[in-house]
Subunit: 379 residues, 4 copies
């Protein structure tokens, strides 16, 4: 198996998510990083590339230049990871997609719906694949939960309760030098959603992924709890689904005592599920009237949908990086199939443009609803 | 210390909550049950009284008769527990209050707001006390949480997330012979709220008790998930508080895998709290930027507010009955003070008419909001 | 139902376990405290009795006087609770048993094996019942665990792992005024075992109760970790059972971060169980090769053996006092049967002299083993 | 940074731990697998190498040949991972060490003490490093626990309670085709210890790593619970340390409901720690008399010793592979330093020959003790 040649846009020294993508790409041995436009500051781009052992000739200061040059090389990148702030997703994604280079892009899709639509057009016209790293869908027990819902273990769904709760923006970190906080609370770089875009989209995507349903309407009450903050840091959202199911979504970055508290509970006529990413190798399942079961990754009761993306035996925890790597490895399977002119195998699952657009619409609808005093907005 | 002579209305054979009240009343040795109108069916009233060892002469078939006769006895009841379905609270409460007999009443206050107001008038005019058994306020760690909020450990509050989740009405138990389900899903006996009245009022009261705040507006999306059910079995509620704090309340009786999942999380500018009644002897506290602490009842870091209503050392769990008993014992302290013509000691805390009226208003507002497509309703 | 007339020896003001026994006795309405020798200091005995509302004439300064006088009264005590330090169990127990008064005695049985044997002779000759308050056997999920083992859910047993871990003697509390610490670390009052007698006997009894097996040999390594302490505060014990099962028992009072960490794990050829008294309403069960189940008191999968000693629905926690009350209520059922000349119903279960003697032998064997460098001692 | 050229002995198709080592080696980008003697069956060696994308010329059927040839290549392997069954560790390790090629070897060190001593001589004489993959020492919170003990947060240690509990050998898997079970229960391939060698050594090593202490004596009761099994599947061990600390070690592979239940609790005069590998991102710490703290990886209260081997923010779980990768990455830091003729930086920590010998001695002593009816054996 030859590694897929990977490029990266963003992710230079000091960035957080770039390093995560690099580990995720190599964890299963599917990719090799060979080029990068790691920073828009040319010197930083060079230095960052050198630190990663990249050929200096393939350390670019500009993603357009990178796209042009790499597209011309015989050994040019086959795929590119885009790990810039939200407002810098569409630009590079379009450049690479236009040249038939597969794009693996961090979420949310873009900063604005206009950009999203532009990107969507290009992506749809391209032979190349577009993968969005909604990484939580890579957890084996999330895959199992989805399979259980799909095969009817819960019966017709009634309730979707999802939350993603953090505390790192409890104080005005954006005013005291945190780069991560600065761009995430800046509408120009993040878009219209703060916590909404950063983590609300993850919660929304996870709920949709597992339940197999998108809500048809929502009502949102948004708040910037920290004085002076320009984007929401707390979002309370009610959800309504076709067929009568309902839900609640809570995203917060101002809840002290919470690190990355992403939790999904789904209930149907016949049973319920409960999963939390801080304890990701376990999945609670209750068939109504039966004892609660604690299902474990690769343990008794494990579903093939989770086992095929699992690496080590039950009881040996897999974590965030493994789930992220699964997105990359599923993408690799799709890329190899696509490049070989074959259909992507049915069991291969990864978030796509469609998920990205749904996330953008979710943020947009929340913002609209909030402006209208939490009135219902159709999705 | 002489036991307070207690009567009971409702709670005959087959009832659930009556037995709970009786244990709660005697657990701390403060009361002795001496009379009852345990059932509206005279034979059942007699039989139930006999099983409890009551004097047959004081086993009444009718609460009015009981109120009249007991009021005339020298050794008549000093207090009465009302443990009937909601629509049967106001009637007996009024009869006893009018005669200066203290009333300890199950929640919610009444089935309708009209009854509630009528009862309120009588209660306000009476020398006797009115105690509402919002029993969860009796848990020591709930008392501690309240004290911590009050003294500013969390700073100014921002978020109140409360939920009370059950699964016992996942199927139409009211159609298959469950007495408990029948009256709770019957608007004539329960009032306008189903899950809302039964457990939503507990969640609402708990949030208010600990936070020290009542919301100023709410928006509610109610559902009867089970076909044919006449009252809500799931309630999604958004809350807004004066000063900008916000909240979510979720009450459900159709979430498989949940027994009595009452959980309260409160977050402020400086810290957060997390408490769940299924693990009631523990309270999570995080001061922002500090390690999470697991506070235990009577353990290190225990607050006097919780310790004064605690009976056994830390690590020996106290539970539901103890918390319920605390309501009774706090009431006993108040009753003894009142009967002695003294002020009720400041540290004695119990839910009153005011809490009952707030609960009624909460249900009413939710129902109004739901009818208007979850529009905001001022409280 | 008439309450059983109960007396108490020990348990005056300032004592801990006496108050627990009193709550336990009245929780289910089965007993009424009517007399006491609450302290060996006559004034304290009087004052303590007055605080409990006892008839001054029945507040005795001496248990012998109490036994004599109460035995002569028509309305004398039918049963007596003995809640003194260990070295004061045998004396009063013998006095009351000799007079046909049932004895409910705190554990361990006595301070010395000699006393234990003397007491045993009297008890065996008496018409009265002897009940030992190994209270943890009163937890519903402990009852369920026992039933599951008995009916073979675990198959032939292989492993018994039990521990009771506290931290309150981490420092020399006996030297700084703690009455509880003083007598528990004093060989004259506690007997040969420190942590062993105080909590090790509970762990030992729980393991025997659930497993249905007594070990045939043990090897013990005892330590007094705190300088100057005269009795063990930590016990490491290996267990061997007939048929090849093995076990470990750990009792400690010097493990910071532990309050009352009594935990029992039992494994057999077909499955395993895990129960902890700090979370007593839940019981983990795994049938080998099947998903883990979390069984709850009165929840799905609840066994009648636990349900018959359970008071409130699943999800409403019952705790230490309820379990303690179950010992009293089981005793009441036995006492009523005995006094009516009937057989004690088969389902009624409570710890007896036999358990007390086994506990004494356990402590004795541990001490012997420890003196011989943890050599094996046959039980 | 150039990747270290890595070879592998063992780990062909169907093996478990080989794949783990490969992921661990590449996770941090420190190694590149370039050669292997992946199986002793030449065809399987070739096929396994091909599946991993190795140059066919560097897929060897014999580790001796591999050592000889690779040592002669300019681009030969700089380090080799040995992932064969225990009895096949010493042979290849010696061959590579003799040629100055660093060895990263799975645990336990060897199958017999004789082999271990032979290997030790060679290793001590070699310029090359010898790293033993006691992978649990790579967990950040294990590193933090060690740092906390070392700096005195617990005071003088008193108790070490460690257990590693599994259930996968509850039935005779070795008789029904499990390759993993076959060699682990075969004295010829595993050595004298079954569960002892496989997981007991991990527990022992973890306890030593965190506590900073090796016991001076132990007493062990070993059992083969499954009929016909030739090695222990359950080990009960008492530990004694210089200075009076004591401990218990339990290793079992026959405890249904346990997957990889490695847990360490350490208690001292001033505080206690509790860590479990199935929830590895959290560490309980209690300073005596203070509230329990739940420390999280990279969260508030995180120690630099854990943070320097941590990759993602708190709340994003890292797991087994990350901890394993840390062993590889620490080894890489040491290898780079050694190859550059520099001292290994002080903060770099990894298990060495010394740990391997201690583990061998632990197994040997347990077996000796067990043969002498669990008598004490000096270490």
């Amino acid at each position: 198996m030859t590694e897929i040649r990977l490029g990266m846009v963003g992710g230079g020294q000091g960035a957080f998510i770039g390093a995560v993508h690099r580990i995720a790409a190599r964890l299963d041995g599917e990719y090799r990083l060979v080029a990068g436009a790691l920073s828009s500051t040319p010197e930083k781009a060079k230095a960052s590339g050198a630190a990663l052992g990249l050929d200096p000739a393939r350390c670019y200061g500009d993603y357009r230049e990178m796209a042009q040059r790499e597209a011309r090389r015989k050994d040019g990148v086959q795929a590119v990871a885009i790990v810039t702030p939200n407002h810098m997703h569409a630009g590079p994604a379009i450049e690479f997609l236009k040249r038939g280079i597969h794009v693996i892009c961090d979420k949310p899709l873009t900063a604005t719906m206009a950009e999203a639509k532009k990107l969507a057009k290009v992506a749809e016209a391209s032979q190349a694949l577009f993968i969005l790293t909604h990484n939580y869908t890579g957890y084996p027990m999330v895959r199992q939960a989805r399979a259980m819902v799909a095969r009817g273990d819960l019966g017709r769904l009634r309730l979707v309760q999802v939350e993603y709760v953090q505390d790192w923006l409890t104080e005005a970190a954006e005013a005291t030098g945190s780069k991560q906080a600065e761009w995430r609370t800046d509408p120009a770089r993040s878009g219209a959603g703060g916590a909404l875009g950063d983590i609300g989209t993850h919660a929304y995507n996870l709920a949709a992924f597992v339940s197999g349903m998108e809500p048809e309407a929502l009502a949102a009450d948004l708040a910037a709890m920290v004085p002076g903050r320009r984007l929401d840091d707390n979002a309370h959202v009610l959800l309504r689904y076709a067929g009568g199911a309902k839900g609640m979504l809570w995203a917060s970055q101002v809840a002290p005592g919470n690190e990355n508290g992403l939790r999904l509970r789904i209930y149907g006529e016949k049973g319920g599920l409960d999963w939390a990413q801080e304890d990701p190798n376990r999945l609670w399942f209750t068939a109504f009237g039966q004892p609660k079961q604690l299902l474990t990754r690769n343990g008794a009761g494990a579903d093939p949908a989770g086992q095929r993306v699992s690496r080590v035996p039950g009881g040996h925890p897999e974590g965030y990086l493994e789930a992220f790597a699964t997105i990359y490895s599923e993408a690799a399977r799709a890329i190899r199939a696509r490049d070989a002119g074959e259909a992507v195998p049915e069991e291969v699952v990864y978030p796509t443009l469609k998920d990205g657009l749904a996330g953008m619409r979710f943020v947009e609808a929340c913002v609209q609803s909030a402006k209208r005093n939490a009135a219902w907005v159709t999705l």
